[in-house]
Structure formats: structure tokens, C-alpha cells
Symmetry: C2
Subunit: 176 residues, 2 copies
Amino acid sequence: MALRFALLGLLNDRPSSGYDLSRRFAAGIGTYAWDAKHSQIYPELRKLLTDGLIEISDEGARGRKTYAITDPGRDALREWLLAGPSSTGGVRNEYVLRLFLLSALEPADAIKILKQTRAFAAEQVDDLTREYQSLRTESGGSPTGSGLAAQYGVHAYRATIEWADWAIKELRKSEH
Amino acid sequence: MALRFALLGLLNDRPSSGYDLSRRFAAGIGTYAWDAKHSQIYPELRKLLTDGLIEISDEGARGRKTYAITDPGRDALREWLLAGPSSTGGVRNEYVLRLFLLSALEPADAIKILKQTRAFAAEQVDDLTREYQSLRTESGGSPTGSGLAAQYGVHAYRATIEWADWAIKELRKSEH
DNA sequence: GTACCCATGTAATTGGTTACATGATTAT
DNA sequence: ATAATCATGTAACCAATTACATGGGTAC
């Protein structure tokens, strides 16, 4: 079910083709909220189309079809969001899992990985901050969907940096 | 693949039965790193057993089998951790997805959900902080695997709180 | 003209959830 | 005795990944 609403949500921001959507997953949403590959996206778009939740708003070169959300689609999305998370929302995140299991390593090895994690997170904070700034100037200072999401990412990655710094210190203490 | 190493990691902390493991998933690791149900755990344990990565260390009442990680199991776990994340580490987190899609709602509704999110995160921070303290006193002040994980959770949920507060403020601005 | 990206689709396989099924132990 | 929890397992179904497959457009 979640995939269907992820697609509706992305299309609610702006109309996109299947190809666009698969790049939007790969670039942002897929790295910390929900991922999907094109082989899953195209069939789901067709289902959404037959259900009337989206429509083809434009057709371009190379068989490109641009989809836009419809009013029933917007209703379905709102309803899902307001209904609250299904109790059965199991999380899957290999990156976080790896951090969970770090203590299986010698402190020196664990520290090496924590430093890599920290560096990656710092990069993400920079990228997202820049993205947020440009979204902000584009929209004239009003908060957009992607703006909230970008800020979420900034906060989440900053937390990772702080935790990694703390964890490195802790592991160094136990190294001797 | 990840499930197999999640199991090895949990067993590396301490020996457990399939039942214990499914509760450990439900209680902690499953809520922010990797989830698994018993119907997936039992078959995977059997595979790990035939591969020699775990062994039965004890048998109790009601057919209870306690599994422990073996030396080859520890080696496999370390190797996987050191090899670094597979490029194909797609994330799935319905809670975060919902936060991503909030802008599809009227500001007032979005704020309602953000407040719920904030309250839940604050609860988690309290729970995890308490858990961390008790782990700390138990282990005499040395950092354990679950200790690092608990602190990760504390940082991650604190970040959610800060972001939610910021997002509420932003949305209030655009409400009028 | 050829390499690269755009663009969409399907098939086979693997991973994961829900539902079905059974029975022992413990607490009340 | 009976309800709750412990404990393990399998089967059917659904979700997701990987691999296969095709072709148009653009830049060099």
C-alpha cells in the first residue's frame, strides 16, 4: 500500500513521468523514506490510472507519459495520511542496521566505519542544506513539501553526526 | 541477505531462541533498523544452522531451542560489516514516508499529525534514555552493542522532535 | 555512427506478510 | 478449568529486486 501513496504524494508536488519518479526515488525519498525501482513503479502507475487516482496530463517523445494526480487521488492521499500509520509498519534500513551491529567489531574497526558514516552524513547535510536554500528562494520563502522533507533530512543526518562523534569517543575509551 | 546478519548480530550480543529474537525485533531493532516476523525468523535460523553459522546451545521446555553464534558465524558477520553497505540498500519506513507527504494536507491537519509525531518521539526518547541508563549501570559503565543502539535512537528521535517543532512553526506562518 | 541517456515495459526469482495450525506451560 | 503467554512451524499470498528486452533522441 505504501508505494501507491508515495507515488500519489510525489505527483501531488508536481506531475511527473514514470522515469522522473524513479529518479526522484533514487535521489531523495528513496534514501531515507521509501524506495522503489522502475519495474515496480510502472505497473503501479497503471493501477492508479485505472483506479482514476491519476491521469495522463501530457505525452512526449519516446513514449513519455506525464502523470498528474486527480481530485479522487488527492482525496485518497489525504485519507491515508489522516488515518495514521498502519500498526504493521516494519522498518527496513540496511544503513541503520549496520550501525546497530557495530559492536560486533573490534573498536578500531568500528571507529573506522563510524568515521565513514560521519563523513557521508556531513556530505548529506551540505547537499540538503543547499537544496533547501534553493527551494526557499524559488518559492519565495513559503514552505513546500520538498522543503519540509529536506529539513527532515538535515536534522536526521545532523543527529547521525552527533551520535557518531559520541560513539567514537565511547569506543576510544574502551580501546585500551 | 540483511535478515541473516541482523540475526547473527542479535545472537552475537547474547544467545536467544527464535521466540526471543522475534520479540527483540518487535521491541527495538524492528522499529528503526530492520524488522522481521517469526514466520521469517524460524526458516532463516534453520538455514544458519545448516550453514554452521549458529548452533543450538540449549533446549528447554515447549521445544524451545536457544541458538548461539559460532566462530564461523562471527567471521561472516564481521566480513559483512567490513565490506560496507550494498549499493542496493533501499530504505522502507512508513513513518518517515508519512512525514514526507505531510504537505499534501491543509496546514491545520499537518500540524495535528506533527504534534502526534512529536509526542511519540518524546516518549521514545524517554524510554530509550531509561534503557540506556540501566544498560550502563548493568555493564559497569562500558559501552555495549545495545548501548550504542539506544543512544542512536535517542539522537534520531530528538532530531525528529526538533524538526517537528520547526515544521509546526513554518506551517503556522503559512496558515493565515 | 556510436555512445549515452531517456523511456517504458515484462518475467523470473527472492523476500516478506498474513493466515493457518498445533501444542506446552504458567498464572489465576 | 481456563485464559494468557510461550514456542515453533508451514502455506498462500503479496511486495520487491534482478534480469531481460526494446527502442527513440541527443550530443559528439
